[in-house]
């Protein structure tokens, strides 16, 4: 009862006294017994119905029975994708869906390493042509200073069709069926399938150009708009023109604005199947962007449909309903429960690769060479936020693939004496297979070069940074906090990126020695000696005579981070240096980095594309974080900057390797980073899954996967027989436990009233 209520108690006899009918209290015993029997019968019937409703075993199958034996891949996602519009999507969990639907002109070869670009919808990987300031064609090998514009001519294959979609539906007169819906009709729409008719049309070069124009549309907030503004000719100016020309939003929704009516010099439709992209100066890495969904085609009809007034309010947007030419289309988008990709009936066809790397044939990865893709009919992804149910359902055979959480790691993986990862006996008995790959990522400890103590170009600071780099043992970190899933970093380039060197030639000689065929971190005594040379004998600051204090900015504010932070303090304590941790969340961490207030911090980078430029730009002077770039250490070295400018425009080859070696030596010597580690991904898949080869660059690998549903059905049935005895046991325990109660109850019933 709330305080606001005032209660008035009226003197009134309790209704209780009115409800003591003696006759009812003394009901016949036979009536009581028959009521008990009826209740018991009801219970038995309810139990029978419940068990009957469970259908054929296995009862714990989370999928409908009619899907048994179908060619469906079952997976899970742990976080709902934020964006499915290729203009905005920029994270791996989003790419795992849209990369199966949208087709940019290029893709990465599934099997070849190092990662190699091959055509997807394009006829060939485009070669750049260079123009001078007057627009004259320059010959190959021309003086780079004369290059004003680089032009890419992309020719796409004819005959490629879009998936069936209402945006393409036309009536008998050739008018688009749903492009001019009445407000009343729009108000009744809840999902795209409420528009029953669908059509298709051929993919054209115009669609690729349309998407590049969308990247510039300020209202679409593309994350790469800033970057492309620096490279694509006239992109920034086009963005401003669009802002002025496009109609303003009405009730929060921007009406359809046909981008075809406004051109800019950076992109040009040459003919139905060809288009050009013009780059200011040179940017050889641009070709890698052509393999990302940002550069996938977008038909104008899709925007014309979804940008009608009221559509966004009814959640019908391109961010929710993708439309592409790829092997799959999204037939169910309920990211709170399940996302389903189904085979696109209009897919243009593609064959499984016929070439691979040595060992691929033996591994069975070329058994399907030349066969038409995709191999599966559908992929059902369920939302599984918690790792425990995810793992258990994988073990039951209800997910075909799985990662390995820390909780389940020891159950799944063991390391042999040589440090090689393998599966435990339990996993092997189930026929589960392990795939590992060192990621094209790096976790590094960055020293802020603007800091008075650890930063700067002085020999003192350099020695201090090197000493810390030796003392902080990332091998131990990998072992304790990553279950051994990682490789200690020797430089900014992880394996798989051109320029990375393996073996003795690839070690960081300032931090490691080569011993017993592997890199071995230098002893901590050497770090102490370096510290003494830097003027901090026994880790003491000569100015104060007290231990040197260094602040560490950490994004590990949660309870899980305590152990990591404690470990980090211990590493610095080896040198007698006091590490003062300023732990915060990622939100607070980012502005600190942008302002350059943290002396030491840890951060990571995941490659956009397999080119050394995508890592060295993190150490490029003009790209400093405090100036708005991604160089979190705020490192600037004129020689490195000059070499970077040279290297980024070079083709892969011995000359480029030599420049990279020189750059690597500079950053090892200056030590703006302690090259923490390159994470290693471990994934598991069941025996009925085929064509699994980790490809950390390609996102459209679903089409290569094959499966054998028959084996899966057998295994599921064998692994999940219903166990019924616990139900019987519970009933028995309750019955036995009830006996003394019944005895006491009877005794009480017979006893005199209190």
């Amino acid at each position: 009862m709330s305080r606001a209520a005032r209660i008035i108690l009226r003197p009134q006899p309790s209704h209780i006294t009115e409800s003591l009918p003696m006759a009812k209290a003394g009901a016949p015993a036979s009536q009581d017994r028959s009521a008990k029997m009826a209740a018991l019968l009801g219970l038995v019937m309810a139990a029978a119905l419940l068990l009957g409703g469970c259908g054929e075993p296995p009862w714990n199958n989370p999928y409908p029975e009619h899907q048994a034996g179908e060619n469906i891949l079952y997976g899970a996602f742990t976080e709902r994708p934020k964006h499915l519009d290729p203009v905005r999507s920029y994270s791996s969990n989003e790419y795992s869906f849209i990369a199966q639907i949208y087709e940019p002109p290029l893709q990465y070869h599934f099997l070849k390493r190092p990662y190699t670009l091959v055509p997807l919808t394009a006829e060939a990987v485009p070669e750049p042509t260079h123009l001078d300031a007057e627009g004259n064609l320059l010959p190959p090998g021309a003086d780079p200073s004369r290059i004003a514009v680089t032009e890419y001519l992309i020719r796409i294959q004819p005959g490629i069709l879009y998936q069936p979609h209402p945006a393409f539906a036309i009536d008998a007169e050739g008018t688009y069926r749903y492009h001019d819906l009445s407000p009343e009709r729009v108000a009744r729409l809840n999902k795209l399938s409420d528009l029953p008719e669908a059509g298709t049309r051929e993919l054209t070069a115009e669609d690729y150009v349309y998407q590049i124009k969308r990247l510039a549309a300020p209202w679409l907030h593309s994350p790469i708009a800033g970057l492309m503004g620096e490279h694509i000719l006239g992109f920034k100016d086009y963005s401003k023109r669009l802002e002025e020309a496009a109609p303003q939003p009405v009730n929060g929704e921007r009406p359809f604005f046909d981008l075809r009516q406004l051109d800019f010099p950076g992109v040009e439709v040459v003919d139905r199947y060809s288009y050009k992209v013009r780059i200011q100066g040179r940017y050889p890495q641009f070709v890698y962007w052509l393999a990302m969904p940002f550069f996938a085609p977008m038909p104008w009809e899709a925007e014309a449909l979804t940008n009608q007034a009221g559509m966004a309010e009814n959640n019908i947007t391109l961010d929710w309903y993708p439309v592409g030419t790829g092997p799959f289309m999204l037939t169910e988008n309920n990211p709170n429960l399940r996302m389903v990709l189904a085979r696109n009936p209009n897919f243009h066809g593609e064959a499984y690769p016929s070439e691979g790397m040595p060992g691929d044939r033996e591994a069975g990865l070329l058994d399907d060479a030349g066969k038409p893709l995709p191999f599966i009919d559908r992929a059902v992804y369920s939302l599984e936020k918690e790792s425990i149910p995810y793992w258990n359902k994988f073990l039951q055979g209800y997910y075909d693939t799985s990662g390995i959480s820390s909780d389940a790691f020891d159950q799944a993986v063991k390391f042999d004496a040589a440090g090689e990862a393998g599966l435990t006996a339990d996993m092997q008995a189930k026929g589960i297979q392990l795939s590992t790959a060192v990621q094209t990522s790096i976790w590094y400890m960055g020293f802020n070069m603007e800091d008075d103590v650890v930063g700067g170009d002085s020999e003192r600071a350099r020695l201090l940074r090197r000493a810390i780099s030796i003392a902080v043992d990332f091998g131990e970190f990998i072992s304790i906090f990553a279950n051994g899933r990682g490789v200690q970093g020797q430089g900014p380039l992880p394996p798989g990126i051109f320029g990375h060197r393996e073996g003795e030639a690839g070690i960081n000689p300032y931090v490691f020695d080569w011993a017993h065929g592997r890199p071995q971190r230098k002893p901590v005594e050497e770090a102490r000696a370096l510290l003494a040379q830097a003027g901090y004998r026994d880790g003491r600051d000569p100015a104060t005579g007290r231990p040197l204090s260094i602040y560490y900015e950490a994004m590990d504010a949660g309870p899980d981070g305590k152990a990591r932070l404690h470990w980090m303090r211990q590493q610095f304590a080896k040198l007698g240096v006091e590490l003062i941790v300023r732990a915060t969340d990622y939100n607070r961490f980012q502005p600190k980095m942008r302002e350059g207030t943290g002396p030491v911090s840890m951060w990571g980078w995941n490659a956009d594309y397999p080119d050394p430029e995508n890592f060295f730009f993190l150490l490029y002077g003009p790209n400093r974080k405090i100036d708005g770039g991604e160089n979190a250490a705020n490192y600037s070295n004129p020689e490195l900057d000059r070499l970077f400018e040279e290297m980024k425009n070079m083709p892969d080859g011995p000359e480029r390797q030599a420049v990279i070696d020189r750059m690597t030596e500079i950053v090892r010597r200056d030590a703006p980073w302690s090259f923490g580690f390159y994470p290693e991904s471990f994934s598991l898949h069941h025996q009925w899954i085929g064509n699994v080869k980790p490809n950390l660059m390609a996102n459209n690998t679903l089409k290569y996967i094959s499966l054998e549903p028959g084996i899966r059905e057998e295994m599921r049935a064998a692994w999940n027989p219903p166990v019924l005895w616990p139900i019987g046991a519970i009933v028995a325990v309750l019955a036995v436990g009830a006996l003394p109660a019944i005895v006491i109850a009877r005794r009480r019933e017979r006893s005199a009233a209190l």
Binding site: S2, L9, H15, A25, P62, T317, N720, P722
Partner: protein
């Protein structure tokens, strides 16, 4: 009673403004509009211009609570707080920061929440009341003592333990139901069995102990003595008379939580993969989607107030001596 209800509804307005203000302050103490923009735009290659453009597009480019640049009333109205709050009072939740219609999402997601909460409430009530009556029936015996010990132990165990144990035993070891997941229509039934069992078992400790107290309070009343003096059997006294009178606090307590059944259970929904409003709220907090967090807190407050009003009304219905004025 009408005057009372109208007065209570008017009282609700300052309460809701206060709740909204506290939610706003707490949210923006932890997150800034810049953080929200970066969360939506991603971590990589996001320029300051993009952040500012996102804020302008989503109405987060104004001052938080007070606009010192504006004159008169606009100093208060041309703020994020006012602009984002005023529509809530018309139950117009607007769109989430990622562009989805919040009202539509709530309407979709309240059903899975209800599909768990309602059976848990009804089955839980039946079991807890029956068990509490049984304990009272066997009061001062080893059954009473043993049950109280068991109930205290059950109360002391974390809800998470019941969830993980339930999934491990019933889903993993015995293979009787799916460990997690959800589906629509009749297919949903097999996914609801386990969370309902877990919800009921997890609530037995607290519920039964509470109801036992209610029943023990009643058992020493005069009418019970009268009933026994008339020669009624103990079972009849308990189930016909004590139960009826003790139902008043039980039912009014239940009425208070009825509207909140729509709000879902945060951890249960997350672990069982139920796409209800609990997981909707958790996701929004993790994604720093203020629009959803604000809407869900507002809705929760409204439902709570509604629950309290219904409780007061239900008092008058089950106990004619009570009058609301």
């Amino acid at each position: 009673m009408s005057a009372y209800i109208i007065r209570r509804l008017l009282y609700a307005i300052p309460i809701l403004i206060g709740v909204n203000l506290i939610t706003f302050v707490l949210f923006f103490v932890v997150n800034s509009p810049d953080d929200m923009a970066r969360m939506q735009l991603g971590d990589k290659r996001v320029t300051e211009e993009a952040v500012q453009a996102w804020k302008a597009d989503h109405g987060y480019d104004r001052p938080l609570l007070f606009n010192s640049q504006a004159q008169g009333l606009a100093a208060l109205t041309d703020t994020i707080f006012f602009q984002k709050s005023v529509k809530l009072f018309a139950f117009n939740f607007g769109t989430s920061d990622s562009g989805r219609d919040i009202g539509y999402d709530i309407r979709q997601r309240m059903w899975p929440s209800l599909a768990i909460a309602l059976p848990v409430l009804l089955v839980g009530l039946a079991i807890n009341i029956s068990y509490a009556l049984m304990i009272v029936f066997f009061r001062a015996t080893y059954i009473d003592v043993g049950s109280v010990v068991l109930l205290v132990a059950m109360m002391s165990i974390s809800g998470l333990f019941y969830i993980i144990s339930g999934q491990f035993l019933i889903g993993k070891l015995f293979h009787l139901v799916p460990i997690s997941g959800y589906d629509t229509g009749l297919e949903a039934a097999k996914f609801l069995i386990l969370p309902v069992i877990v919800g009921v078992v997890g609530g037995i400790g607290t519920g039964t102990r509470l109801y036992r107290t209610f029943f023990l309070e009643e058992i020493n009343r005069d009418y019970v003595r009268t009933a026994r003096a008339k020669g009624l059997r103990e079972r009849v006294v308990l189930f016909r008379h004590v139960l009826k009178n003790a139902l008043i606090p039980i039912l009014t307590g239940v009425v208070a939580v009825l509207p909140l059944l729509f709000m879902g259970a945060l951890i249960t929904e997350s672990f069982f993969g139920i796409p209800g409003l609990g997981s909707y709220t958790i996701d929004a907090i993790n994604r720093q989607d203020f629009a959803i967090v604000r809407a869900m807190v507002f809705l929760g407050s409204v439902l709570y107030i509604l629950g309290l009003i219904l409780t007061d009304i239900s008092y008058t219905m089950v106990d004619p001596r009570v009058r609301l004025a």
